[in-house]
């Protein structure tokens, strides 16, 4: 009896140190942020000195047009970036899923952008977008086409393009992996059943890749909500507020406006948004597993 109990507790005992460190490392900053978001808090004060103001920061943000603008930019950015990256990434994967000489080299080339540090990507694109000496405008000029004020007039679009360049490979490799794990013989059966390459994609490949694609899209979406470095380096949120995504606004609120409480509240709004997305993702997984389990149970029953 006693040994049974001890046996049951042993694993928890071994896990305890790791669990405690994890909890401290994760929970402490998180708790600090939540705690701070209820205070009128200036960087020169310690958190204890700051005045408790209840939900004031949250209510202020709820009515703040600048916050709305920033949230709108973030949503727009995330929507376009994820949609376009999914289309290009999956399209490329469908195109390059074949055994041709040099294909593995090509695949490696395609995933290179993902390996570059975001700050470097930002710098690179800032120079390429430069109104007079940038690669794009020099090329346009050379061809006699009127130049474009990339980071001025089309700032959000330009930032979106840079993000697409960097993160499409992520979707590309996941989609390719999903494609290559598809049952080969089902595709052969489809060929015999008379499916054209296009019909194979629509009726067989895409539906079978769908679970992976949905998770991939969610991961990208979560990431896109938090993007900071590339935009910071390229536009610093400007011109005006046109590219000021939430992460950037949070950092400016804390450093420039010196309102740590408001910044913390904003972070919490973002956190809630991301939590909803993550929960959505888990719910989707759970739903899929439950469905599979139900079908399995059905078979068992009949056997």
């Amino acid at each position: 009896m006693r040994t049974a109990m001890a046996n049951r507790l042993t694993p928890y005992l071994f896990m305890a140190p790791a669990a405690i460190i994890m909890a401290l490392a994760l929970m402490y900053p998180l708790g600090y942020m939540i705690w701070g978001s209820f205070r009128e808090w200036n960087p020169s004060q310690t958190i204890g000195e700051a005045e408790f103001v209840g939900l004031k920061n949250y209510i202020f943000l709820w009515n703040d047009p600048n916050f709305h603008e920033s949230l709108g930019v973030t949503l727009k950015f995330a929507f376009f970036v994820v949609t376009i990256e999914m289309v290009i990434g999956v399209g490329l994967a469908l195109l390059l899923d074949r055994d041709i000489r040099g294909m593995s080299f090509l695949r490696t080339m395609f995933i290179l952008p993902m390996m570059i540090a975001p700050v470097v990507v930002g710098l690179m694109w800032r120079y390429m977008y430069h109104p007079t000496v940038g690669t794009f405008n020099r090329t346009l000029d050379g061809l006699g086409i009127p130049t474009v004020d990339w980071l001025g007039q089309y700032a959000l679009m330009s930032v979106i393009i840079a993000d697409i360049w960097q993160w499409t490979p992520f979707i590309f490799i996941l989609a390719l992996a999903a494609l290559q794990s598809l049952p080969r013989s089902a595709l052969e059966a489809a060929r015999i059943d008379g499916a054209t390459p296009w019909q194979q994609i629509i009726h067989i490949k895409l539906p079978l890749m769908m679970p992976v694609l949905i998770v991939t899209a969610l991961l990208r979406l979560i990431d896109a909500f938090k993007v900071l470095e590339v935009i910071l380096v390229m536009t610093e949120g400007g011109p005006g507020l046109s590219t000021e995504i939430l992460a950037l606004r949070i950092s400016r609120t804390a450093t420039e406006f010196r309102e740590l409480g408001v910044a913390a509240a904003m972070s919490n709004y973002l956190l809630i948004l991301l939590l909803l997305l993550t929960v959505g993702m888990f719910a989707f997984n759970r739903w899929q597993e439950a469905r599979a389990a139900k079908l399995h149970a059905q078979v068992e029953e009949e056997a």
Binding site: S185, A190, D193, G194, A292
Partner: protein
């Protein structure tokens, strides 16, 4: 109904040639079975006919038209894959109707067809299920139904029963045999199970190492194998082989070797006397050896029992004859002790002779 002809079909993977010129002609409504040991090129042959593998050399003719440049869907065929190859995200009805839906047939026609074939293979109550929720045997039948629904002239099967347990396999084999009589199609069936081959085939093609060894009706292959490989491959338990020499004595011809000395008669004796080479292999099927203590010594084998396997009404005995091992069948009721010496008569007509060097039948 199409006729299929393979004209010196060759398959190479890089530098490795795995099929060395397959010539084969399959008539209308014929059930052709390709058999052979693992890796002999059965699947490759079938997949080339289906258009899933490129033809390296030679040509495939359907109704005398070359088809090797055509896509699978242009070849008017249906295929049942070894691993079923069902579409996991579609339910049974959608799996069965996929080809018809791609061909944009009218909905009423599709529904009627699905119902008809589902009925034929006994799947009506599972139409709304996904393949993941079906047992192996049910999936097998979905694969069959999907092929049937296409109504094409040629049916290809790649070891469709290999994943089933023995009982289900026997059941499906019987269903297949009945089905092949009901639907008039040209069927090509790959298996390495020679019982399936014997029971289903109008014509069996035995392959080995990328060559066709022999083709013919099951009876032809069983009674008149052209070489030692085919003789050993067809029939269960397999044929016994004993190495020996021709010896002439008193105007009669004997095959003589370690532990046996068998007199040849009739047709076999004539063939033996006209054969130049003296070194031969004697082949006798277990079913051509009958337990008979009073048998004439020159028409019998004297065997020492090594192992006895009880398989029901019959026991299979593994015995020693000289240096060779011989399998025989005996009524299980007969008391047999290990190490006992028994005499088995060789049935007339049960003697096969092969040249020992070339392994070709005399």
């Amino acid at each position: 109904m199409p006729t299929i002809r393979l004209d010196s079909l060759v398959k190479r993977y890089g530098d490795v040639e795995v099929l060395h010129g397959i010539d084969l002609e399959m008539a209308d409504n014929e059930f052709t079975v390709l058999v052979g040991p693992s890796g002999c090129g059965k699947s490759t042959t079938l997949r080339m006919i289906a258009g899933l593998e490129d033809v390296s050399d030679g040509e495939i003719f359907v109704n005398d038209n070359p088809v090797s440049h055509l896509e699978p869907k242009e070849r008017d065929l249906a295929m049942v894959f070894q691993d079923y190859a069902l579409y996991p995200h579609m339910n049974v009805a959608q799996n069965i109707s996929f080809a018809l839906r791609l061909a944009r047939r009218p909905k009423a026609e599709i529904d009627a067809k699905v119902k008809e074939v589902a009925d034929m293979v006994g799947l009506t109550e599972f139409l709304a299920r996904k393949p993941g929720a079906l047992s192996g045997g049910q999936r097998q039948r979905v694969a069959m139904a999907r092929a049937l629904a296409k109504d094409s002239g040629i049916f290809l099967f790649d070891e469709p029963l290999s994943n089933l347990d023995a009982k289900l396999r026997g059941q499906m084999r019987a269903e297949l045999a009945m089905m092949s009589q009901r639907v008039e199609k040209n069927m090509i069936y790959v298996t390495h199970d020679q019982i399936e081959a014997m029971t289903l085939a109008d014509r069996i093609v035995v392959m080995h190492g990328g060559y066709i060894q022999q083709q013919g009706t099951p009876e032809e292959l069983f009674k008149r194998p052209v070489n030692k490989f085919v003789a050993g491959f067809m029939g269960m338990p397999p044929m016994n082989f004993l190495d020996g020499e021709f010896v002439e004595r008193d105007g009669e011809i004997f095959v003589s070797g370690q532990g046996f000395d068998v007199r040849l008669e009739g047709e076999v004796a004539r063939k033996a006397s006209s054969h130049g080479n003296k070194a031969v292999t004697l082949g006798v099927r277990p079913s051509d050896l009958s337990f008979d203590g009073a048998a004439e010594p020159a028409r019998s084998l004297t065997l020492d029992v090594l192992v006895s396997e009880y398989v029901g009404a019959q026991s299979v005995l593994l015995c020693k004859c000289g240096a060779a091992q011989v399998m025989v069948e005996i009524n299980s009721e007969t008391p047999v002790a290990l190490g006992q010496t028994l005499i088995f008569a060789v049935n007339s007509g049960g003697i096969h002779l092969f040249d020992r060097a070339s392994e070709v039948a005399l």
